[in-house]
């Protein structure tokens, strides 16, 4: 019992340490903008207002940026989950000798620095007329988002007994039926993890909008935050207010999905 209490106390301390920057950021987002920065915590708490949260929407088109980011994740996250899980299930069910080479290839692609493919992707998007479109920011989702997502599913299904899938085959289930009705329900924690990771991947994607988007009306939230970051030092509370707004959707998603992926196993 005492052991559990100590563990909980330790967890609370570690949690508080991780929570502190968020609390400080939240408090600082309430300090008055357009003034010299408060020099200590007392000054920070003395004068505060919710005004920054309204002003940040007036200073930059943050509402538009939010909407653009939401559009990107609404399309990209389901497609990432769909394509990554289908690809991984194909790898699991395939008896071909080159399966292991595909898995190795997926791992190798994770080692390629993203900057190495910027130019190629820009040329490709430019060739098909997708530069300066929101679709350019979603395109990788149609290929599963990231090879990491495919590998998460692959490793999750490798932990499941293969007999289950064989039994589905014997019962006459097709590939798609086995994937949808048997395989996917088995790996809900993995799906939750991929959903959250894909959301963070597309929600926080900064460099692609910088490179592929020209029209400021199509800027996503990370660009909006960078615009706020370029404001002078006296407007730091506005940046923090923007950051707090940006944190809300991933936090909500985390709260919704945590009960699945905190189960500790990839498979249910």
């Amino acid at each position: 019992m005492a052991k559990v209490s100590v563990r909980r106390a330790l967890a609370a301390v570690v949690g508080a340490i991780f929570l502190l920057p968020l609390v400080m950021g939240g408090l600082a987002s309430l300090s008055l903008a357009g003034q010299a920065a408060p020099q200590n915590l007392g000054a920070l708490l003395r004068e505060w207002s919710w005004q920054n949260y309204a002003e940040v929407f007036q200073m930059i088109p943050l509402g538009q940026h939010l909407w653009n980011s939401l559009l990107v994740v609404i399309v990209s996250v389901p497609f990432s989950v769909l394509v990554a899980s289908l690809a991984a299930f194909f790898l699991i069910r395939s008896n071909q000798p080159w399966r292991r080479w595909l898995v190795a290839f997926a791992i190798v692609t994770m080692l390629v620095p993203p900057s190495a493919v910027w130019l190629f992707r820009f040329q490709l998007l430019s060739r098909v007329g997708l530069v300066d479109t929101r679709l350019a920011l979603m395109l990788s989702a149609f290929a599963g988002g990231s090879s990491l997502f495919v590998l998460i599913y692959f490793w999750a299904w490798r932990q499941a007994p293969a007999d289950l899938f064989d039994a589905a085959d014997i019962d006459g289930a097709s590939f798609l039926q086995a994937w949808w009705q048997v395989a996917l329900p088995l790996v809900r924690p993995a799906t939750a993890a991929v959903t959250l990771l894909a959301f963070m991947f597309f929600w926080g994607n900064f460099i692609e909008p910088v490179l592929f988007i020209y029209d400021p009306n199509k800027y996503t939230l990370p660009i909006g935050l960078q615009l706020l970051n370029q404001l002078d030092a006296s407007n730091r509370p506005l940046l923090l207010a923007g950051a707090m707004i940006a944190i809300v959707p991933p936090m909500l998603l985390f709260l919704i999905t945590q009960r699945w992926f905190l189960q500790g196993e990839w498979t249910r």
Binding site: G34, Q35, A36, A37, Q39, M59, I60, L71, V75, F79, W118, L119, F122, Q123, S126, G129, L130, V131, D132, T133, R134, L135, M138, G172, A173, S174, F175, L176, Q177, W180, I207, V210, L211, Y214, D215, P216, K218, I223, Q226, L227, L228, N229, Q230, L231, D232, A233, S234
Partner: protein, 418 residues
């Protein structure tokens, strides 16, 4: 057979999903570029974005048949990546706004087209612009960009702190000794006489003032007595006299924030700092010339309109408009630029716009003493490397002579002339 039927159902469901997402995707595709548009690339914050949007609106109003497409990035670093990608992918912007320190790289790579053959079409009469601004964009005997502004480092000072310490305001001929004496007189336990972001950009004018050079042959910041004197004076402000914040204090509060909060009496900044001072400072303030050493010298800060590809008549019309008195005035109204066109810079529209600082003429007074950093494709990397070492000296981690040694070792043979 049963399995095929069920497969077909699943496939039909997938088709429905794709069909539902298709119109959504098509809406997101939006409109594609029109061939009649010209593109204008620049970096800048919200205020700069708004200022250039005003410039573009004014141009489009005057030329309704031409549309300007913005290619913008919020910060200089992001902009560099965006620009490199566009050039490498052979999708260059028509017009790009570049600082002269960044220009040589793109010119050397063959990304830019010289402006020289188009001077009459963009109405660039060399006599109407400050010569130093034209010189800054001249490389290999070609003018590569049309100068938009001509700013420089000056001293912003807090008049309230000067008054409280009983110190006279800086005079036009004040010296390094005057600066140090004033800073010492103002410095207390809570107030610093000055705050400096140590780096080559801020050290350079003092090197020139000591009759030193940034580059000699193939050496960056060579170990001459003049360069050593400049670096020693600059860094002893912190290491010996303690009139500027030390490393810990500087880390806890950046120089500009400390100045805005009234904790510092003097700071070296360019005209870009003026809008925030107007908005935030709740004390009386003004600007003054840099203190002088053996001679007067300042460092130029200038951006120019560069041509990203062989210009069309419409492109040249836009550059002509941006350089015109109307175009320069629109940007001068932001308060953050010193116009490169003499007629605007020397008019009341810049000098007496009814706002602080009272001494905007300081930027024009300094023009005759301005110098430029050498033009070199890799200059920014050299600058960054040298700045790291200067910071080490500034915070007393290594001696000035060791700092110069390190810069020599790391820069190698750079083959440029100051």
């Amino acid at each position: 057979m049963r399995s095929k039927l069920q497969d077909a159902r699943c496939i039909r469901r997938l088709h429905i999903l794709l069909l539902v997402s298709l119109p959504f995707s098509l809406i997101l595709l939006g409109c594609q570029n029109q061939s009649s548009t010209i593109s204008f690339a620049f970096a800048g914050d919200v205020a700069e974005l708004a200022a250039y949007q005003t410039l573009i609106n004014a141009f489009e109003q005057a030329h309704p048949d031409i549309e300007i497409e913005i290619r913008h990035a919020p910060s200089r670093q992001d902009f560099q990546q965006k620009l490199v990608t566009m050039f490498d992918a052979n999708q260059p912007p028509d017009v790009v706004l570049l600082n002269y320190r960044r220009m040589a790289r793109f010119a050397a790579d063959g990304d830019l087209q010289p402006v020289t053959p188009h001077l009459s079409q963009i109405d660039l009469d060399p006599d109407a612009f400050y010569p130093i601004a034209l010189q800054a964009f001249t490389w290999n005997d070609e003018l590569w960009c049309a100068p938009q502004n001509i700013s420089s480092l000056v001293v912003y000072y807090n008049q309230d702190l000067f008054d409280a310490a009983g110190q006279p305001y800086p005079q036009p001929n004040w010296t390094w000794d005057d600066f140090l004496r004033t800073a010492k007189a103002i410095t207390t336990n809570e107030i610093y006489g000055a705050a400096i972001d140590p780096g080559l950009y801020r050290l350079a004018p003092f090197v020139w003032q000591a009759n030193g050079v940034l580059v000699d042959g193939d050496e960056l910041l060579p170990e001459s007595a003049e360069n050593l004197a400049a670096l020693t004076w600059f860094t002893e402000l912190q290491t010996v006299h303690n009139v500027v914040p030390n490393a810990l204090a500087a880390q806890s509060l950046p120089a500009d924030e400390r100045f805005l909060s009234g904790g510092v009496a003097m700071i070296f900044e360019s005209r870009r700092f003026t809008p925030i001072m107007r908005e935030v400072a709740d004390f009386d303030w003004d600007v003054a010339l840099l203190p002088q050493g053996e001679r007067k010298a300042g460092i130029l800060h200038s951006d120019g309109y560069c041509l990203g590809q062989t210009p069309s008549a419409e492109t040249l019309m836009f550059v002509r408009f941006a350089l015109s008195e109307q175009g320069q005035q629109i940007l001068a109204q932001t308060g953050r630029t010193v116009p490169s066109r003499l007629a605007i810079a020397e008019s009341d529209r810049f000098l007496n716009d009814g706002q602080l600082p009272m001494s905007s003429h300081v930027w024009l007074d300094e023009v005759s003493t301005l110098q430029t950093v050498p033009l070199h494709p890799n200059w920014l990397q050299f600058e960054e490397m040298a700045s790291t070492e200067i910071e080490e000296v500034f915070y007393g981690r290594i001696s000035p002579i060791e700092g110069l040694d390190q810069i020599q070792i790391q820069s190698g043979n750079i083959q440029i002339n100051d």
